[in-house]
């Protein structure tokens, strides 16, 4: 079953992921313009993009544990998943800047003064070098450094989940589930031997 899955994954092209990934924001925009997102389309779009970005970051973090613990190899799709996550988070930020807050001075104040915005922003900044070095040339040039650099995804995803936990009102389950899943997929990376050494 797993061997079959890996065979199939090898044959599948990766470009449809980009196409499907690009359709989602386009669909959101269309819905927002035609009333499909309800009476507060700005918040709806902002939240949908942020949440999808976080989901994709977590999906990207699932690739390694899947390979290591289940033997399923989906490594070929990781770049597309990561780049789509980055794109959605850029759009999330853009909606926040242009359609939501709108006022330049307030944007700056929010980034500096509001911890949940600061944390979300920090997560976004960590993703920039990863997006820039997501090409084959960078992978070849950077070698081992590339792998170390791309471990920033761990921090970025944790910051993204924390951003979600911090922005809701009251005690809500959903962001805590995202945080829990993020911590789990990161914990799955701890190797038993290293574990023993620490203990």
């Amino acid at each position: 079953m797993i061997a079959y899955l890996n065979q199939a994954a090898k044959k599948l092209p990766t470009w449809p992921l980009y196409v499907v990934g690009a359709l989602y924001p386009a669909w959101l925009l269309w819905q927002g313009l035609t009333g499909g997102l309800g009476v507060d389309p700005v918040k709806e779009m902002e939240h949908a993009l942020g949440e999808a970005g976080l989901q994709l970051l977590i999906a990207g973090l699932c690739i390694t544990p899947l390979r290591r613990h289940a033997g399923v190899n989906l490594l070929r799709f990781r770049r597309a998943i990561g780049l789509l996550a980055f794109t959605y988070i850029c759009l999330h930020l853009l909606v926040w800047l242009v359609l939501d807050v709108q006022i330049a001075s307030q944007i700056l104040a929010d980034i500096l003064k509001r911890p949940y915005v600061t944390i979300g922003m920090a997560g976004f900044v960590l993703l920039i070098p990863l997006a820039v070095t997501s090409n084959n040339l960078s992978i070849r040039r950077l070698g081992r450094t590339w792998h170390r650099l791309h471990k920033l995804t761990y921090a970025a995803t944790l910051l993204g989940a924390l951003h979600f936990v911090m922005l809701v009102k009251g005690f809500q389950i959903e962001p805590l589930i995202y945080m829990g899943v993020t911590v789990c997929v990161l914990a799955l990376r701890i190797r038993p031997r290293a574990f023993r050494k620490v203990a």
């Binding site: 009476v39 006022i103 005690f171």
Partner: protein
């Protein structure tokens, strides 16, 4: 005594949907529109605000008893039974007791009030409420000397209010006002919107509306009103006191710790709606500023 306060907002330029509803309102013989028409000139001076349409008001709600999404209340509130409904009035009153809502309404004068509605989340609407002044209800109950505050409580009925099965906040929802705030002619007990009975998701069958305070002060589906001499606990304040104060007056100069209150997004304006500056006391400064004379509004947020 009703009609101590008159609108400066009107039905001027309302959307086709609400004009339709207004015609029904006139047919139903409910007064208010005529008065609003007379006040038209003033409304223009006030910045030509217009009520949001029925769909916007009834599909975008914070009513965590039915779920935390804005569309949850509209989806789930139909399960709520609002008839029969009794309100327990107790504490420092001459006539404590369990009052049937119908009996209360038969003694009250219902009128229309078009108010700005500003949520603590920095969005706003304009709502044409129908209701009576809380002062009239309190006078009916007979306020005893020494009473300084009014406490309110929402219905606790998890089988009909599914949100109450989760500990989002400490149920039942409670709120409170200082007695002079409660007696202010702007403070309304609302039973309708656009001349129709108030929909469940908006706080049926009866809710508080305090237009110069953030929306969460305007407690919904009220089952208990208590006069007391002590500042009563309030739900959001109990949960996070540094974010939600007892007063919670709309104030562009006092930010919420997690977001600015200087401006607001107007709901219903579509994808490209411009933010607008938030007004002190939500534009009711002339009416209510005297209640807080000498008070540090930054400390008593």
């Amino acid at each position: 005594m009703a009609k101590r306060w008159t609108n400066d907002l009107t039905h001027d330029d309302v959307t086709p949907q609400s004009q339709y509803l207004n015609r029904r309102q006139i047919m139903a013989g409910i007064a208010g529109l005529g008065l609003a028409g007379v006040m038209g000139g003033e409304a223009n001076a006030a910045g030509k605000l217009k009520p949001n349409d029925w769909d916007t008001i009834t599909r975008y709600n914070n009513f965590y008893e039915f779920g935390t999404s804005k569309d949850d209340p509209a989806k789930h509130a139909h399960k709520l039974t609002t008839d029969p409904w009794t309100i327990k009035i107790d504490g420092m009153v001459d006539n404590p007791g369990e009052y049937a809502l119908g009996d209360i309404l038969s003694k009250m004068t219902t009128e229309e009030r078009i108010y700005r509605f500003r949520c603590v989340e920095a969005w706003s609407m304009v709502v044409p409420w129908n209701g009576f002044e809380l002062a009239d209800l309190l006078q009916m109950a007979g306020i005893q000397e020494g009473a300084k505050y009014v406490a309110f409580e929402t219905l606790m009925r998890p089988e009909e209010m599914p949100g109450q099965k989760r500990p989002v906040i400490d149920w039942p929802y409670v709120e409170g006002l200082r007695l002079d705030e409660a007696m202010h002619p702007l403070t309304l007990m609302a039973t309708g919107i656009y001349g129709k009975p108030i929909p469940n998701q908006n706080g049926a069958p009866i809710r508080l509306v305090v237009p110069w305070k953030y929306g969460f002060k305007s407690i919904k589906s009220i089952v208990r009103v208590t006069l007391t001499d002590r500042e009563p606990p309030t739900s959001w304040n109990k949960l996070i006191s540094r974010e939600y104060g007892f007063y919670s007056n709309v104030n562009p100069n006092v930010d919420h710790p997690r977001w600015s209150q200087a401006t607001e997004r107007t709901i219903g304006g579509g994808l490209f709606a411009k933010r607008k500056p938030t007004l002190l006391f939500n534009g009711y400064e002339a009416d209510v500023a005297k209640l807080y004379e000498g008070m540090d509004l930054k400390r008593n947020f």
